[in-house]
């Protein structure tokens, strides 16, 4: 099976966000960047499918020279080859989707794996947008995946339960937590990944359809009333919820 895994490079989830001087993006000074946590699930799933069915796993990212670090992580985890599509610094989702579609057309994968969302902008749109551009079925937020004889069966989380969705290959899947437990790369593999080649390509220009006009840290507007665990205070809390906040 020929599997393409799309990965994005995001700030570590524990990062303190500081707005940069342009007012439209974060100050990346001192920020540690990692493989998007959901994309680790996508990589892991690709590796497991290869272990079972044979084939090739390719990881691709649309980014800049800085993105070689996440591609090396993917290599250390065990993907066969990596592609860096060099483009704009803060691309909009369509730009990413268009460029991923171009790579998919070249690589002709049976399966494209992505994360459920990229935890920077949480835009939640690339899997289905890619499906539409490529005219392929896509299933988002998948927590269990079975592929047999070209038939895809996926369990997908919905409000208040889950649903079973079927499609045939070629198909696009976005990974949700629970799909698997991603492996940690072993030290020798990390060392080996450093000397592996990275296939570099230039992004095709695609006009952005959206622009960020401002970024801000939401103001804390919470009353922040702190009480003790005395009976009086518990009664007071219930009174405030009932009379002041009017939520019960």
């Amino acid at each position: 099976m020929n599997i393409l895994v799309c990965i994005s490079r995001v700030p570590d989830t524990a990062t303190k966000v500081v707005i940069g001087s342009d007012g439209n993006s974060i100050d990346s000074q001192g920020v540690k960047f990692i493989v998007n946590p959901y994309d680790e699930l996508a990589i892991e799933e690709g590796l497991r499918l290869r272990e079972k069915n044979g084939g090739v796993v390719t990881a691709v990212t649309i980014g800049t020279d800085k993105s070689t670090d996440v591609l090396r992580t993917a290599l250390a985890m065990g993907v066969d080859k990596v592609i860096l599509v060099k483009g704009e610094e803060n691309p909009d989702s369509f730009y990413v989707a268009e460029n991923l579609a171009a790579v998919a057309k070249d690589e002709n994968p049976d399966l494209i794996l992505l994360g459920r969302q990229s935890v920077d902008f949480d835009s939640l749109q690339i899997p289905s947008a890619l499906g539409e551009i490529l005219g392929m079925p896509s299933i988002s937020v998948v927590s269990k995946l079975t592929i047999e004889d070209g038939k895809v069966t996926a369990e997908r989380d919905i409000e208040g339960g889950c649903e079973i969705v079927e499609a045939s290959l070629p198909c696009i899947i976005s990974a949700q937590k629970g799909l698997n437990e991603p492996r940690y790369p072993k030290l020798p593999d990390i060392m080996k990944s450093r000397s592996k080649p990275i296939d570099q390509r230039d992004a095709a220009a695609a006009a952005s359809r959206t622009s960020i006009i401002g970024m801000e840290i939401p103001l804390k507007q919470r009353a922040g009333k702190i009480l003790t665990d005395s009976d009086d205070d518990i009664n007071e809390l219930v009174r405030m919820l009932h009379e002041d906040a009017k939520v019960i």
């Binding site: 949480d122 690339i126 289905s128 896509s138 409000e159 889950c162 622009s211 970024m215 939401p218 939520v247």
Partner: protein, 321 residues
Amino acid sequence: MKNILVYLEAQGDGLKRISYEVISAARSIAGDSARIYGVLVAGNSGQAENVGEYGLTDVIVANHILLERYSSTAVAATIFQAAESVGADCLLFPANAAGLELEPRLAVKLSAGYVADCTGLSADDGIIATKPVYAGKAQVKTKVETDKCVFSLRPNVFTATKADSPVSTNFTEMVPELTDNDVSVVVTSVDKNEGTLDVLEADMVVSGGRGVKSAENFNLIESLAEVLGGAVGASRAVVDAGWRPHSEQVGQTGKTVSPTLYVACGISGAIQHMAGMSTSKVIVAINKDKDAPIFKVADYGIVGDLFEVLPKLTDRIREVK
């Protein structure tokens, strides 16, 4: 902007609550000139009978034999045809499981700019969408540069408001042109956790963290949730320990909720947890550590032992209700 199309999602005999929130948001940006249409796929007009109370004058009800089993690709094709038929240049969806698979497809079909999971929409010089980024640690205002635009709205954030006076609604039947090719994915079965309310849809959420100490102790959390008529949520620590199912996890790798009331019990308030609940309207935290970060986002905090506080709080609320 001339015509707005909102996606109405059926649930049982009616519509999901988010549908009314989306209609209301459409009205808030429509101004005097734009006309609003609703589209209901594989449903019947009875399910949308009360949308007139929310000011919706036109609803397209689309049915086709190929829509009998839910297929996101076929529904997307149907919405596209509905959008073309009314000349819609703005589409609004709920940012939920169905919406997140539909909106990007519609954005591609319409060559439209698209913003997902919006918490604010305003119409001045074009539409400006506000959305949380970096797990809610920041928010961005985004302008769509294309003539057409597509947005999805986070559930429970926009208020469903009735119109000053109800309008009568025109229901138009539509049979979309679909072929087997449009049905490239299909839902073959749905497994609902019957009887339990999902954290995503609940108006009241009571969540427990590692401080609850065991799966059995969650009866305290369940009791309070029951008295409030709400759902049980959990931190990742609790889900990882196997005390609660992943479907209840709130946070960055779980669900993002915005209930009217969120009660966090024995949860420290890690940034990844707060990413999933910080837009709740009122937040109550119960924690024995007065320095727990959860108190920074709480409207009301009780510093104390949840094993003592919860039974008393539950009783007291039962009395008041």
